[in-house]
């Protein structure tokens, strides 16, 4: 996706038609290479072999994971707070939308709100919880905030499991789907658009002066505070925004898969998947997770279909890769890219 050009690479030559095109792209956080990759993904569902229905499903899975990784990295990579209850926040958005859309007489809420509206209500609820949670826990530092988010995630999972009149507990809900078609392609374009919107909005925020404050807080908390940045205000803002997008994406999950159980969406292992993708991609880049998510989902789905007798192998691979990245290459893929760009620039006489 968008390969950012605004990081530490001062020399920018925006002249001519190409130059103004690049500068316009740069404003919304894309580089030409990133845009090309993005277009490639966008047309993929029409190109064999990617046009098969099951592979389009993989693409949807990839885009869903990628979008979550963007929202996760917005918090983890910028203000350096690991939202360890991320999956539960996604699940809250999904459940809110699914419960509001319910028409079955067996549950106590029977509003039957159209999913297209419900998704946004879900996002709002998740964002509000994020805001509240942020105000309460982000006064604490690093590890306390992470563990508190984890506790809240467990509490939400417990609620989804036990408030059976509302959620049917472990049996799960069957929310209506967004479209009446059985084809996967339209859904792909929905989640693809959601992913791009998530990226552009969050990128715009990080490019503004607010983003500068985020980065400052993430890199050196005390120095940032000493230079007059109100840490709680900015951290809460960041956290709530990330949760808002998480809930929005959760709504898509509910109304695409049409089935929602507490464990499949809210479990801590889902957070770890997103976290691993975001970190392998490179923290503080936003796009790193996207570049990682698609190949990963393909690789993992392939493993899953080839080695059905080895459940959980893909999760072990996640874990091993994550540890290796954390120890030996903490900058992830984005760091590798930045290094390559620097190398190219230096080698080319200008």
């Amino acid at each position: 996706m968008g390969i950012q050009t605004n990081e530490g690479q001062g020399r920018k030559d925006f002249s001519g038609i190409w130059g103004s095109f690049v500068s316009a792209l740069d404003k919304i956080g894309f580089s030409p290479l990133g845009l090309a990759l993005l277009i490639l993904v966008a047309v993929a569902p029409w190109i064999p072999p990617f046009n098969q229905e099951h592979i389009v499903r993989w693409l949807i899975g990839g885009a869903f994971l990628a979008a979550q990784a963007i929202a996760f990295d917005f918090t983890a990579g910028y203000i350096n707070v690991v939202n360890f209850g991320f999956a539960a926040i996604v699940g809250l958005g999904a459940y809110t939308s699914a419960i509001l859309a319910n028409t079955s007489p067996f549950l106590i809420v029977r509003i039957g709100l159209p999913p297209w509206i419900g998704i946004f209500v879900g996002a709002l609820v998740s964002g509000l919880l994020g805001l509240l949670l942020g105000m309460l826990t982000l006064r604490l530092r690093g590890i306390y905030a992470a563990v508190m988010a984890w506790f809240v995630g467990i509490a939400l999972l417990g609620l989804a499991r036990n408030l059976t009149p509302l959620t049917r507990g472990p049996l799960g809900l069957h929310p209506p789907t967004l479209l009446s078609t059985t084809s996967n392609r339209p859904y792909f374009y929905i989640i693809f658009t959601m992913m791009v919107v998530t990226y552009i909005v969050l990128r715009m925020v990080t490019k503004s002066h607010i983003g500068l404050a985020f980065k400052a807080l993430g890199q050196n908390f005390d120095a940032a505070r000493a230079s007059g940045i109100n840490p709680t205000k900015y951290r809460v803002l960041n956290f709530a925004l990330s949760c808002l997008f998480a809930g929005w994406l959760g709504g898509f999950y509910a109304h695409y898969y049409g089935s929602l159980t507490p464990k499949t969406i809210m479990h801590t292992s889902k957070t770890v998947e997103v976290l691993a993708i975001a970190y392998i991609g490179g923290r503080g880049s936003l796009w790193g997770g996207v570049v990682t998510a698609f190949p990963f989902v393909f690789f993992i789905e392939y493993l899953r279909s080839e080695l059905t007798e080895l459940p959980g192998l893909h999760l072990v691979i996640y874990g091993v890769l994550m540890i290796l990245i954390m120890i030996f290459y903490p900058d992830g893929l984005a760091g590798l890219y930045r290094w390559a760009v620097r190398k190219l620039r230096r080698d080319r006489p200008s």
């Binding site: 690991v82 992470a146 508190m148 509490a155 417990g158 770890v272 959980g312 874990g319 540890i323």
Partner: protein
């Protein structure tokens, strides 16, 4: 001295101390009240049960507090050590038990569970040392930047590998035993308590006491505490940091494995069995203050009492919500826990 006492920072420090003491009194008072309410309204059985589990949460939490205090690692794979302990105990005890069925031997029947638990503890220790040497040692050599957060994420990865690795190798099956000792429950205060529970409690108490003695009265134990207080200072007086770190991590893992093995009759061995103990251990150390080992012992009992009381009086749906709200309130008023935390790395980003 008097001048500094009137300064605004000193005043806020005093208020923080008062807030902390207040919260501590409320939490301790609340858990005592919960204990009394349990004994009166639900019968002494519930109370005794929660004291027994409290012993085990204390054992888990002490390991967690130790690793955080000495190495500054927020250990998220502590539950997986519990899981490993449970598996090892199962795989040692079951064949022994089968063998004893065909060849009865009174002495060996009494000892078999201890053999299983001991084996689990040893495996836990070795596993802890291996993890430390393989993962944290290289990381420590590379960089200490953002140490707390990085090691947290790494232990998340370890936990992920271990739970899914266990599913991969052993399958998602539950492996449990009905009980270790074929002994009738013992009557105490009119309550029948399973013999296994009594032994588990005794193991927890003896281990914690022995560990306390080790930390305070032996050369190595003092070295561990020295490293927790000041790493550079410890190094200057000739303490081998690598040895202390490996030993600490091994001991903590061994304690979790010991808990898993001793509670095999309650928690069957399966890949994600460690999640609940991990949750409670974290809850305890957050409540009492990260890295506070003495507090962790008391905290184990407090949390077990509050947990049973929530289940008993409020209902299962809110079982996880109430503790989370309590924790948020506690941390708002006493950000470093009810007994305070004096670990050097807690406030690192």
């Amino acid at each position: 001295m008097e001048r500094t006492l009137t300064g605004p920072s000193m005043r806020s420090a005093i208020w923080a101390k008062i807030g902390q003491n207040l919260v501590a009194s409320i939490v301790i008072g609340g858990s005592v009240a919960a204990g009394i309410a349990l004994a009166v309204l639900a019968g002494p059985a519930q109370l005794i049960n929660s004291i027994v589990t409290g012993g085990m949460w204390a054992l888990m939490s002490v390991g967690l507090a130790l690793v955080f205090g000495v190495m500054n690692i927020p250990h998220f794979a502590h539950g997986e050590s519990f899981m490993v302990g449970a598996y090892v105990a199962y795989f040692v005890f079951t064949p022994l038990h089968k063998y004893l069925k065909t060849n009865p031997n009174a002495f060996l029947s009494t000892m078999a569970p201890f053999i299983a638990i001991l084996a689990a503890t040893l495996v836990g220790f070795v596993l802890g040392v291996i993890i430390e040497k393989l993962i944290f040692y290289p990381l420590r050599r590379r960089t200490r930047a953002q140490w707390v957060m990085n090691t947290f994420l790494i232990t998340v990865g370890i936990s992920f590998i271990m739970t899914n690795g266990a599913t991969l190798v052993l399958g998602p099956n539950f492996r449990g035993i009905p009980r270790y000792w074929d002994v009738d429950p013992i009557k105490f205060l009119g309550v029948r308590i399973a013999f296994d529970r009594i032994v588990a409690f005794a193991i927890a108490i003896v281990t914690i006491a022995a560990f306390w003695f080790f930390l305070h009265s032996t050369q190595t134990g003092r070295a561990i505490r020295a490293v927790a207080q000041d790493e550079d200072g410890a190094q200057m007086v000739g303490i081998d940091l690598n040895f202390i770190h490996s030993l600490t991590f091994g001991l903590a893992t061994a304690m979790a494995a010991l808990a898993g093995a001793s509670l095999l009759f309650m928690f069957q061995a399966y890949p994600t069995v460690g999640l609940k103990p991990l949750y409670f251990a974290w809850y305890v150390v957050m409540l009492v203050g990260l890295g506070n080992i003495g507090g962790a012992i008391i905290g184990g009992f407090i949390v077990a009492l509050l947990q049973t009381a929530t289940q008993q009086f409020i209902g299962i749906a809110w079982e996880d919500v109430i503790p989370t709200i309590v924790m948020i309130l506690v941390l708002l008023l006493a950000p470093s826990g009810i007994f305070g935390s004096e670990v050097k790395g807690v406030h690192e980003q």
